[in-house]
Symmetry: C2
C-alpha cells in the first residue's frame, strides 16, 4: 500500500539543493557523445578520450570511463562539511560521500 509522505516539506524550489551533474559509465566517450548529440537536443561542453560533458536544459551529464571515475551524481554544497575537499584543476572543490546503499555523491563547490 502506498503512503504519501507523512510530513510533506514545502520548501520553495529556490531553497532546494541543485544537482550539478550526473556521471554515467560508458565504454567509449566519443561514441557516446555522438550518440547523445544525434538523438537529443543537448550541447557538448567538453570531451576527450577519458570523459565527456553534455549539457541539457536543467542538468549536465558526464560520460566517464568506469576505470577513471565511479558513476556518481554531484550536488552543489560545501564539501568541507563532509571531509577534506580535493581541489580540481578547474578550481572546483569536492568530496565524495556514499548514501546508505553505497551510491557515490560528489559534494561540489564551484569556484
Amino acid at each position: 500500500m502506498s503512503t504519501e509522505a507523512k510530513t510533506p516539506e514545502t520548501k520553495a524550489k529556490l531553497q532546494l539543493d541543485t544537482v550539478d551533474h550526473v556521471a554515467v559509465s560508458v565504454k567509449n566517450v566519443q561514441e557516446t557523445v555522438e550518440w547523445y548529440s544525434k538523438n537529443f537536443d543537448c550541447t557538448v561542453k567538453y570531451q576527450d578520450e577519458t570523459w565527456g560533458l553534455v549539457e541539457f536544459a536543467n542538468i549536465r551529464l558526464a560520460f566517464v570511463l568506469p576505470e577513471q571515475h565511479p558513476p556518481h551524481f554531484a550536488l552543489l554544497g560545501d564539501p568541507a562539511k563532509y571531509g577534506e575537499p580535493k581541489t580540481h584543476r578547474d578550481g572546483t572543490r569536492s568530496v565524495y560521500v556514499k548514501d546508505p546503499s553505497g551510491n557515490n555523491i560528489e559534494i561540489l563547490a564551484l569556484k
Copy 2:
C-alpha cells in the same frame, strides 16, 4: 591530450531537452529517503515500500529497488518516436531505450 568539442553547438538552453528524473538503485527506500532528507535540502514527493521520489531544485531523484526498476534516467520527449509507449497509472507514457553502453534511458511524455 584533451580536445575541446570541434563543432560546439550553441543551442539556447530553452531548446535543450530536459532530464525529468534520475533513478538510483537503493537497498531500502525509507532509509534512503530519510538519509537524503536529513543531509540535503530536498522535498519528498512520494514514497512507498518500492520506490521514492525526492525533488531537488532542478531535477528529481527516484529511489528504486533494483528488482523493480532498472537504474535509469528519464528525458522528456516523444516516446512514440522510439517504440510502442507504455502508459503508466499516472497517465504518463514512456519507452525505454539503451545508449551504446547499455545505460537505460526512459523517453517520457508527461500528460
